[in-house]
Assembly symmetry: C2
Homo-oligomer: 307 residues x 2
Amino acid sequence: MALISVGTMAFDAIETPFGKVDQIVGGSGTYVAYAASNFVTPIQQISIIGYDFPQEELEQLKKRGVQLEGVEVVPDKKSFFWSGKYHLDMNTRDTLVTDLNVLADFNPVVPESYQGAEFLMLGNLSPNIQMSVIDQLKERPKLIVMDTMNFWMDIAMDDLKAVLLKVDVLMINDAEARQLSGEPSLVKAAKLILQMGPKFLVIKKGEHGALLFHENQVFAAPGLPLEEVFDPTGAGDSFAGGFIGYLAKTKDISFNNMKTAIIVGSACASFCVEKFGPNRLREVTRVDLEKRLAEFVQLVNFDIELV
Amino acid sequence: MALISVGTMAFDAIETPFGKVDQIVGGSGTYVAYAASNFVTPIQQISIIGYDFPQEELEQLKKRGVQLEGVEVVPDKKSFFWSGKYHLDMNTRDTLVTDLNVLADFNPVVPESYQGAEFLMLGNLSPNIQMSVIDQLKERPKLIVMDTMNFWMDIAMDDLKAVLLKVDVLMINDAEARQLSGEPSLVKAAKLILQMGPKFLVIKKGEHGALLFHENQVFAAPGLPLEEVFDPTGAGDSFAGGFIGYLAKTKDISFNNMKTAIIVGSACASFCVEKFGPNRLREVTRVDLEKRLAEFVQLVNFDIELV
């Protein structure tokens, strides 16, 4: 069951209350690939990198079943670079630098070998790029999941709405759900967004977990209470990767299975934040994952009988 | 199984984005009594009111099994009055007026007929008043639950810490847990607070639900996603009333049963916010409660099997 993942592969500089790294591998596509490859292969990656992206990272990804034919390498430019600093509460951050570099020319071409993939993860990119990938697929995937952000709502709302009409699952945070719908109540926001195209809406609430909306149903996943959140960078992408990876593995896109996929995504995100960049995600084993999923079961499990 | 509830019975003036009331019955003791009396009687109320507190309200409470012998009536003074205005997001509010009135002289005397109660709910009041009630009980209750707030941490931290040594369950919000422990991470905050006396800690997170900590265990209850939060006043007290009422009914104070009690408390809180003041809570039936509890089960229920 192939999964196409479109997203950035980049460098980040990150400062958190716990430390600082001047250059670490990042990018939404990187995190999605690491998380999803725990569950399904091949991951058919679509991205663009510069001459400076580490060969070892590409080798690691390949070993995990990530295909790189759709990753364009630009020999005379640098990879996309983002730098940010997290506030004390770790829920908010300031972007310090955004150097698009190769990303300015990103015009993805879907390799012939990727045709027929049944799952598509559209990482947070310009809506036009997301649309271009959808348009290139000869057969519509069984499931298209889209991530986006407030930035695109500010500058390209019409393009974004056009993509919404083509996707099955939209994944945004609570502030973005309010912005997209113009409605402060999340329940009302969800109803409006489910009329814009997607049949499923995932609202990410950071440490407070996530909500899944579908028709008149709703599911709430908690965030795992963590002693230390070391670096939140990539948590949302790891969540997305775990979510779609689990769906691709189980080949079941029902609401019921998506609830489980949300928990799997939350588990991936909870690992991601334990170290800088994708460092923790890279080393997570199957046993680690199963232990953490058991923690989620314990976390929310209760008996009720109103005697 | 008697439950003593110590708290205010008062008037509130409330402004929310949805409307305004100039005078409505309120007070932590009122909300606790309405919520808890769905599960257990008698509720043995300890409070103080002025000449202006409505006789009909007292009659209503009596009908629900609330004993009022411990409610002092001051014939020449007004009841405690609080006025507040909620911000657009309903998560924050400004206090406009606090008229202590009778509360300035509150010096509760536990009636002889209340002695032997097995459950004690200490509503948010000065730590000295909370301590005085504990000291007057000839037999220690099976379970003492304490609510408090940042105000007492600011002006009476030592007194508050003395009460903490005497209680089983502390109920505070996330900001208060951070203030009490001096630790921004909630998990670390919980560990520190569990060394201050209480064996159980409930951290209320408003619309994001609640966390229950005990030894090395943690339970996360979601907030029910509501289309409209009409008036959050009393939600925390309704939560507390449902929580301790359910525990008193089931006579089981294990961690496992407290998880269920948290869900019951959350259900009570979710009703409370649907109308102004205690209006909705007053009319809730057993059937309403069971339906809502079923919604909570649906909300968090997932299957996991990592194939």
